[in-house]
């Protein structure tokens, strides 16, 4: 676990973001390599980005990232299942990973906790854990791939999100399911509707057949094996079905928003 600790990305606040934006630009010596800007200019042509203003690498990179969102949405196959593995392939111990230490992870009382459902749904009632546990559950053994590059195979059991969306009468023509979490600084993440309806996208209540431990997101995480790990929110407290792009904790700091696998 010591090694994993060292891999944690420190949390980045908005002020640091401004500094990071500066870091997106190569330093002057390196900039000489791209001084002509011709090749980068070609990239912006590719994405139809307006470069009439002063050249900004950061703005250009953000536009390409949006273009990449569109490309990934286009190649997303709603019927392609993430590979599944035998139980013997499960990574032990499965890593805990967050921008905080495990000691600082949300500690949630399952009896008090409620899952709030908002937005474009017929039934906006909040769900208790007891009620959610009664819904049909399925198990998957899939590979969790972190944006950092490492991967680990885990076993997750829970309710298909598509079943739940049907149950609450969600407008599945909406663009996103936006999840909010119990983390102290408000982790959140948008999930495109096509992925939300994918058969392996799951409201997860168990890890390795046991009630989801605190490290992995008790009482509920959203398991999305077709997305990078940071698009698999833990300690989820609400879902909003919406057409608005509301951003996300890491997405706002520059991680590609679609981040599909």
């Amino acid at each position: 676990m010591g090694r994993l600790r060292s891999l944690l990305i420190p949390g980045v606040d908005k002020r640091l973001l401004v500094r990071d934006a500066g870091n997106l630009m190569p330093d002057p010596t390196r900039r000489r390599f791209i001084a002509g800007g011709a090749s980068l200019g070609a990239l912006t042509l590719l994405t139809g980005c307006d470069v009439s203003d002063s050249f900004s690498a950061e703005a250009m990179l953000k536009k390409v990232s949006k273009f990449n969102d569109a490309v990934q949405a286009a190649i997303f196959n709603p019927y392609a299942l993430a590979p599944t593995y035998p139980e013997s392939a499960i990574t032990k111990p499965f890593p805990f990973n967050a921008y905080y230490d495990l000691d600082d992870a949300p500690e949630i009382d399952g009896k008090e906790w409620k899952f709030e459902v908002r937005g474009l749904v017929d039934n906006k009632k909040s769900w208790t854990l007891e009620e959610l546990y009664k819904l049909p559950q399925v198990k998957q053994v899939t590979r969790h791939i972190c944006v950092e590059g490492w991967s680990a195979i885990g076993s997750w059991t829970g309710t298909r999100l598509s079943d739940f969306l049907k149950l609450v009468g969600a407008d599945t023509r909406a663009k996103y399911c936006w999840f909010q979490c119990a983390d102290s600084d408000g982790y959140n993440s948008p999930l495109d509707m096509a992925t939300a309806l994918h058969p392996q996208t799951q409201m997860t209540f168990k890890f390795a057949d046991e009630i989801l431990p605190r490290a992995y997101g008790y009482p509920m995480k959203i398991r999305v094996p077709t997305k990078l790990g940071f698009k698999n929110p833990k300690y989820v407290i609400s879902m909003e079905v919406t057409n608005d792009y509301k951003g996300g904790y890491w997405e706002d700091q520059g991680y590609n928003s679609f981040s599909g696998s």
């Binding site: 891999l7 390599f33 791209i34 090749s39 392609a80 700091q253 520059g254 599909g260 696998s261």
Partner: protein, 208 residues
């Protein structure tokens, strides 16, 4: 091409083009794309190193993982589109067949020996020796493999058959790294030799 250049060697026609314009253009676009991909790739590597070392922040691009990923997934388009243009034109114009083939082991050994003993001729830059043929053909293959292994890391679900071909996600990361290391090694030799034989560098800039 311009024939304004005055040559004191009238036997050599000033219009002789060693590197055609399309080769020069894709070469330099590729150089920029490669540097952006390698430097941002090093920063991405640092987030979860495969080996017991990290790349110094002085030689990486992006500042942090998120910035490096933005660079990597932007420059990849430049690399891929430019690479496809190169492969298409290379086959269509017959350049690959003419310049890179045939490659014989005996020829490679003989030319490698000549190069190491300083006897390799550089008089005719329009013809590659066997070592050059092997390295240039080899680096094209490495270029194809690094793109395919990169795609299999980027899309291990949508392109899962490609990922499986590489032996799975984790193995594909090593393949991607080894390809990068091969390209960097090639680059060191390639740049050193270009500087040793400056007229080859000139040919890649102005064509002659």
């Amino acid at each position: 091409m311009s024939s304004l250049a005055v040559s004191d060697q009238p036997r050599v026609a000033t219009t002789t083009i060693i590197q055609p314009a399309w080769v020069r253009i894709v070469h330099w676009i590729n150089a920029v794309a490669m540097i952006l991909m390698i430097m941002s790739g090093w920063q991405i590597y640092n987030a979860s190193p495969l080996f017991d070392f990290r790349f110094s922040g002085n030689i990486t691009l992006g500042g942090w993982l998120g910035g490096a990923l933005l660079w990597h997934f932007a420059a990849m388009w430049l690399l891929m589109v430019n690479g496809l243009v190169y492969l298409t034109l290379g086959f269509a114009t017959g350049r690959f067949a003419k310049k890179l083939l045939p490659i014989s082991p005996a020829g490679v050994i003989a030319d490698a020996r000549a190069a190491l003993t300083g006897k390799l001729s550089h008089d005719d830059l329009s013809r590659y020796n066997y070592v050059q043929k092997l390295l240039y053909a080899g680096i094209i293959v490495v270029g194809v493999v690094i793109v395919l292994s990169g795609l299999s890391i980027w899309k291990p679900v949508q392109l899962q058959y490609l990922t499986a071909l590489f032996g799975g996600y984790d193995v594909a990361r090593y393949v991607h790294f080894i390809c990068m290391a091969s390209i960097v090694a090639f680059l060191v030799v390639h740049v050193a030799l270009a500087l040793l034989v400056p007229k080859s560098l000139r040919a890649m800039i102005i064509g002659r």
